[in-house]
């Protein structure tokens, strides 16, 4: 069997007393899109910084195609950072030329690659415009284009849709979908459950620096067992809602409660049977339940089930 494109083994990184990444291990096969799903501060960016060679791990190993990461093998990786890592006073074309040359691309091959990636991200018509004249979504797409330029074996996308409008977000997700289908291995970090569900062949759930679960969507759903998510919409004060949440968390079968004013989601075994006692408890706290919804299980529910908190907490 061929070596995985990326093999991460027991990666650890500490900042002072804080362990940002704690013995994280996973691998990505050729053509696979792997999602690293977790809330802000979970350790996603620190993990990919170590994979890309920007941070030195305190311990653990990163292997690309079966060999350790060295400076010369960095070209195997295409990094798309969370921030727009482009020169705003240069055009997209000039940015691509600069970063392409740093990746040792030259002449006609560089021109062809630039034309190709501009086409992939839909920026051919605006290639000669300065980046600081772009919209947020266009900047994100140009940011991705630089990561694709040198045809990496592994594309790392760090929360590429943060802060973009829905149309650009959809455009980015479509582009990633196409790349994943083209045989390139993709490591995609996000705290948007729906993106992970839509794009990723496998998902690793990371929280507080630890990879707490990993698998395909179906495999992760099995973690929920018979659990389901019941979402209550309520009217009432914050203190009453908090008190109600505490009571809900203590009810039999409840594995997670999230949400504050107005909307509270509960992951529980046999969720529908929870509705009556939960409504009764709400009323006892002076809350008015105005809506109840039993949702299909999703990765958000898995995360809530595993950690007891929401992805966006």
């Amino acid at each position: 069997m061929a070596a995985p494109v990326l093999q991460v083994t027991d990666l650890v990184r500490r900042f002072g007393d804080h362990t940002a990444v704690d013995r994280v291990s996973f691998q990505i096969q050729p053509g696979e899109t792997y999602g690293l799903l977790g809330p802000n501060g979970a350790g996603k960016t620190t993990t990919i910084s170590m994979i890309a060679g920007l941070l030195t791990p305190d311990s653990g190993e990163v292997e690309l195609l079966g060999e350790p990461l060295t400076s010369g093998r960095k070209s195997l990786i295409g990094l798309v950072p969370q921030d727009i890592a482009l020169y705003p006073d240069l055009s997209a074309l000039e940015n691509l030329q600069f970063f392409g040359k740093l990746q040792n691309l030259h002449g006609e091959h560089l021109k062809q690659r630039i034309a190709h990636v501009l086409d992939v991200v839909g920026l051919t018509d605006r290639a000669k415009d300065r980046i600081d004249t772009y919209s947020g979504g266009m900047k994100r797409r140009a940011n991705i284009a630089v990561g694709l330029l040198h045809e990496p074996q592994l594309l790392i996308l760090d929360e590429p849709t943060v802060g973009v409008d829905p149309q650009s977000r959809n455009s980015i997700l479509e582009a990633v979908d196409v790349l994943g289908g083209s045989g390139m291995a993709v490591l995609y970090t996000t705290h948007y459950m729906e993106e992970a569900e839509r794009l990723c062949d496998r998902v690793g759930i990371i929280d507080s620096g630890r990879l707490i679960a990993e698998g395909t969507r179906d495999e992760l759903m099995q973690r929920l067992g018979e659990n389901s998510t019941v979402t209550f919409r309520v009217n009432g004060g914050a203190e009453q809602t908090h008190a109600w949440r505490v009571e809900l968390a203590g009810m039999p079968g409840v594995s997670g409660v999230q949400g504050e004013d107005g909307q509270v989601a509960v992951v529980a075994a046999n969720g529908p049977s929870l509705i009556a006692p939960a409504v009764q408890a709400a009323q006892s706290h002076g809350l008015d339940v105005v809506g109840v919804e039993v949702a299909e299980p999703d990765l958000e529910a898995v995360f809530l089930h595993l950690t007891g908190k929401a992805l966006r907490d």
Binding site: S49, A52, G53, L54, T56, S71, G72, R73, K74, S75, I77, L79, P81, D83, I84, A85, L86, Y87, D89, L90, E94, F98, F99, K101, L102, Q103, N104, V146
Partner: protein
């Protein structure tokens, strides 16, 4: 590696050219200020140099030389005899430089042997020392004439006394190899490099700080995610700021020289002093950037140090005395200005400004070494 160094330097240059504020700071402002100050001061500075003549020989010939000189002078240059020791005379502050006619001078002349004159001056006033050296060179030429006359007369068996007297008492032409010491030099040739160096601190400081800015904006991690070594990044940034500095100051020089007639002196000497000054300023800027805790702190420190060096270095006034005159020697601006004045006013050649060139280069390389190590530890690891 060097290809990456050049790519990073070229990228920095391209971005600098897009930034019009740099063009204003680097070229327009120094020339404008020099022109305005030049208009305020008139056509040039008048020198006020007093050269002492110390007669340690005590012979008729040395006495005649001293008497001849004390009657000469004018045009901002005065000569007067010195009774005390040359160093003590210099320390008294009454003299800017002292020419010593050594013991045995007349015997050497009359016997046809070469004579050696000494010039004692202070490094803080290179112009006065240059004037004294040019006078000493003139005396030496007269003595050479007297020596040849003595040898020829002795061979011919005739009395050489009158001819020797004429030669030694002739007023030495105030000349050096490149031309006449005029007693004045262009105000613009003084203020243009001075102001250009002040602005260079800001321009080069911006360039040095761009490495921290690029880390904050994410382009530095992206560069380091490519197969590019941290050393290439640091070298590329350094080469970039050096090129910006050298090009901008060279343009100021050429525009004030060719456009406004402000002659800065021997072109090779001027260019080498420009390069050395830029190296020194770049090194200091890298040191500040490397040691400062934040980008804002580096910015503030650069401003303070640039202004301190400019004031202490004599950027805003010529001919300071006392503490300011002493302080000047401890600033790169002062050292560079001393070299520029020497080149412009005393028509010095590159060899005569070599000490300042080496000192400025040494300051730059030393500061850059410490600054780059600090930057590497702070930004690239």
């Amino acid at each position: 590696m060097w290809r990456h160094v050049w790519l990073i330097a070229a990228n920095g240059l391209r971005r600098s050219l897009r930034d019009r504020s740099i063009l204003i700071q680097a070229i327009v402002a120094p020339i404008l200020i020099a022109v305005v100050v030049g208009a305020a001061f008139g056509s040039g500075f008048s020198l006020n140099v007093t050269v002492g003549i110390k007669d340690a020989d005590g012979s008729d010939i040395s006495e005649q030389i001293a008497q001849g000189l004390t009657g000469a002078g004018g045009d901002g240059i005065a000569f007067s005899s010195v009774d005390a020791d040359a160093d003590a005379a210099l320390d008294s502050g009454a003299y800017d430089a002292v020419i010593v006619l050594p013991a045995g001078l007349s015997d050497a002349v009359l016997s046809g042997e070469p004579a050696q004159l000494d010039v004692v001056g202070e490094a803080k006033d290179p112009l006065a020392q240059s004037v004294a050296e040019s006078v000493a060179a003139g005396i030496a030429a007269n003595l050479q004439t007297a020596r040849v006359t003595a040898v020829a007369a002795t061979s011919a068996g005739v009395d050489a006394g009158p001819a020797i007297q004429r030669a030694v008492t002739a007023t030495p032409p105030l000349t050096v190899e490149q031309g006449e010491v005029t007693g004045t030099f262009s105000v613009m040739a003084y203020f243009a490099p001075g102001v250009a160096m002040l602005f260079l601190f800001f321009i080069i400081g911006n360039g040095a700080r761009s490495i921290i800015e690029e880390r904050r904006e994410g382009t530095l991690p992206r560069i380091l995610a490519a197969p590019v070594s941290p050393a290439s990044v640091l070298l590329g940034k350094t080469v970039g700021v050096l090129i910006v500095g050298i090009v901008s100051m060279t343009l100021v020089w050429l525009i004030t020289w060719l456009g406004f007639g402000a002659y800065w002196g021997d072109p090779i000497g001027v260019f080498l002093v420009i390069v050395a000054a830029v190296v020194a300023i770049a090194g200091i800027s890298l040191l500040i950037t490397g040691l400062a805790r934040t980008e804002n702190q580096a910015d503030a420190l650069t401003t303070i140090i640039a202004l301190l060096f400019a004031v202490a270095g004599g950027t805003f006034f010529y001919g300071a005395s006392g503490v300011l005159s002493d302080l000047r020697l401890f600033t790169p601006n002062g050292q560079a200005l001393a070299a520029f004045v020497n080149l412009a006013a005393a028509q010095a050649d590159v060899v005569e400004v070599l000490p300042q060139i080496l000192l400025l280069t040494g300051i730059g390389v030393g500061c850059a070494a410490v600054g780059l190590v600090a930057l590497r530890n702070k930004v690239l690891t």
